[in-house]
């Protein structure tokens, strides 16, 4: 057999894999950005206990948190078009690219996970504080924005960071529906050149560096937001 690991091949692979980092990152960015918006929406539904939407959101969040990401990807990729197209007379099954479905999956998934993080963080602020705010004449919204939100962000930040690291790794699943991300590119290099180890090693380095980067920035953010107090334990 050829040498299992060869530095020449390793270096050759870098320019082949690196451009696909943009796919991985775009999934993470879209998933997080719209996931935060969706998460906030779900939290609002939960707090206001909106009729109809409240039970739906409960089922939805427990589904998203309780099923494997791969299943969700398959359901969104094959199931959503089968459900939407006949109702609206559209043809998203064919017209939307695989990457669009990947975005939708990750947004829906992140929305559920982030809503749980946000809701937990909000309820961690004792209700007495809201009562105190209201009693001095602040409106409900003012109390929420000035008293609850600043404290809630500090509690939500560490789990938000680890969620982001997890999301980054989960994004490698999209290759199964034909979206080529860095992991997928490594695999295809493996089948085209007969040598997969060098490509995998490079992907490992990329994943580790980015996850360290995310953790470091959250560590820094957390310190910044602790305003001289001890900070939340276990954030790094």
């Amino acid at each position: 057999m050829d040498r299992l690991f060869d530095w020449g091949r390793f270096l050759d692979n870098i320019p082949k894999i690196a451009p696909y980092l943009s796919i991985t990152l775009s999934i993470v960015v879209f998933g997080t950005l719209f996931g935060v918006i969706l998460g906030i929406g779900i939290v609002l539904i939960n707090m206001k206990k909106l009729p109809v939407l409240y039970p739906i959101s409960k089922v939805y969040v427990s589904f998203m948190r309780g099923t494997p990401m791969l299943v969700q990807l398959m359901i969104v990729y094959y199931g959503i078009p089968a459900w939407i197209d006949p109702i609206f007379g559209t043809n998203i099954n064919r017209e939307w690219s695989a990457v669009t479905f990947a975005y939708i999956t990750f947004i829906l998934n992140q929305g559920a996970f982030l809503s749980a993080i946000f809701y937990g963080a909000i309820t961690a602020v004792p209700y007495g504080q809201t009562e105190a705010g209201l009693s001095v004449g602040l409106t409900g919204f003012q109390t929420f924005r000035r008293i609850v939100v600043p404290q809630m962000i500090r509690t939500a930040l560490p789990p938000f960071g680890s969620d982001l690291v997890g999301l980054f790794q989960n994004s490698s699943l999209v290759f199964l529906v034909g979206v080529t991300d860095i992991m997928g590119r490594a695999k295809t290099i493996g089948s085209a050149t007969k040598h997969v180890l060098e490509a995998y090693v490079f992907v490992v380095i990329v994943y580790i560096s980015i996850s360290l980067l995310i953790r470091l920035s959250f560590y820094w953010l957390n310190k910044k937001l602790s305003y001289g107090r001890g900070g939340v334990a276990g954030e790094f």
């Binding site: 099954n93 017209e95 529906v177």
Partner: protein
């Protein structure tokens, strides 16, 4: 007042949800209305049939053949979409693709669900493949109780499953490994993770060339497990497209173009017989 506020928020959320579903990502329809867009589904990890080249573009025999087929059919425009092997046929089920191209051999199970092209574009004769130094295996019967690598949805799995139905007392252990690389296959067979796998002679030659370092680390043994050919697969309803593609493949075989592509891409003429 409070109640109205709640209802308002609910209304806004519902519209926002609906808007995201219908609004984003819709592409413009083709400008030329006479040309029908056909989506071809193929794999991305089976060199030299379908794989991604150095710059990440689809390459391989399936692609080259269908590209010339497309040239012969002005009424269609082919667009290629790659995915994991197991997902190609699911995509055909779901109507995401019109043609499935991944060296599909004929078998009854597939025939029940899909429409087979009538023109074969490669022969596909599969053998048992074992490590070069093994002498104890020459037929499926020798594999009872042993571990064989296969992948879900493949014809090899279909053959093994049928064999196991008849020999339920001591079945062959089928190990379904999806999306594995050639390197994993060779290493796994050499170090005994699997006792055998099922592949064509040309695939084994390819593996020996890639990993054998001049020696035949793997070998085919015994009689052919199955002699068949590969066909394009279509949706049951899609007979017009099937007939058009069949006609084009026939023409390519008769004018020698198919053999030419096979020699160029696979390294031998595998379009008639082996």
């Amino acid at each position: 007042m409070k109640k109205i506020g709640k209802q308002l928020i609910a209304a806004v959320l519902i519209t926002a949800l609906a808007a995201t579903f219908t609004g984003c990502g819709r592409k413009e329809a083709l400008a030329n209305a006479d040309v029908e867009k056909i989506i071809v589904g193929t794999g991305n990890a089976y060199e030299p049939y379908c794989y991604l080249d150095d710059s990440g573009n689809l390459a391989g025999y399936e692609y080259e053949v269908l590209k010339v087929v497309d040239e012969l059919l002005p009424q269609y425009e082919f667009e290629f979409q790659t995915s994991d092997f197991a997902n190609v046929l699911i995509s055909l089920d779901a109507g995401k693709i019109d043609i499935a191209a991944h060296q599909y051999e004929y078998n009854e199970e597939r025939d029940e669900k899909y429409l087979f092209g009538e023109e074969a574009y490669t022969t596909y004769v599969t053998y048992l493949v074992v490590a070069g130094d093994r002498t104890d295996i020459t037929s499926l019967d020798d594999l009872q109780g042993l571990k064989v690598k296969s992948s879900s949805g493949s014809n090899a799995s279909y053959i093994l499953e049928n064999y196991n139905q008849e020999h339920a007392d001591n079945p062959i252990q089928i190990d379904y490994v999806n999306n594995s690389t050639d390197e994993e296959t060779v290493t796994g067979i050499l170090n005994g993770v699997w006792d055998a796998t099922i592949a064509t002679k040309r695939d084994v030659e390819k593996l020996n060339k890639g990993y054998g370092d001049g020696a035949d680390v793997l070998k085919t043994v015994g009689e052919a497990v199955q002699s068949s050919s590969t066909y394009f697969l279509f949706d049951k309803e899609n007979t017009t497209l099937k007939e058009a593609v069949d006609g084009a493949v026939k023409e390519l075989r008769e004018n020698g173009r198919l053999a030419e592509i096979s020699t160029q891409v696979i390294g031998g003429d595998y379009t008639e017989s082996e």
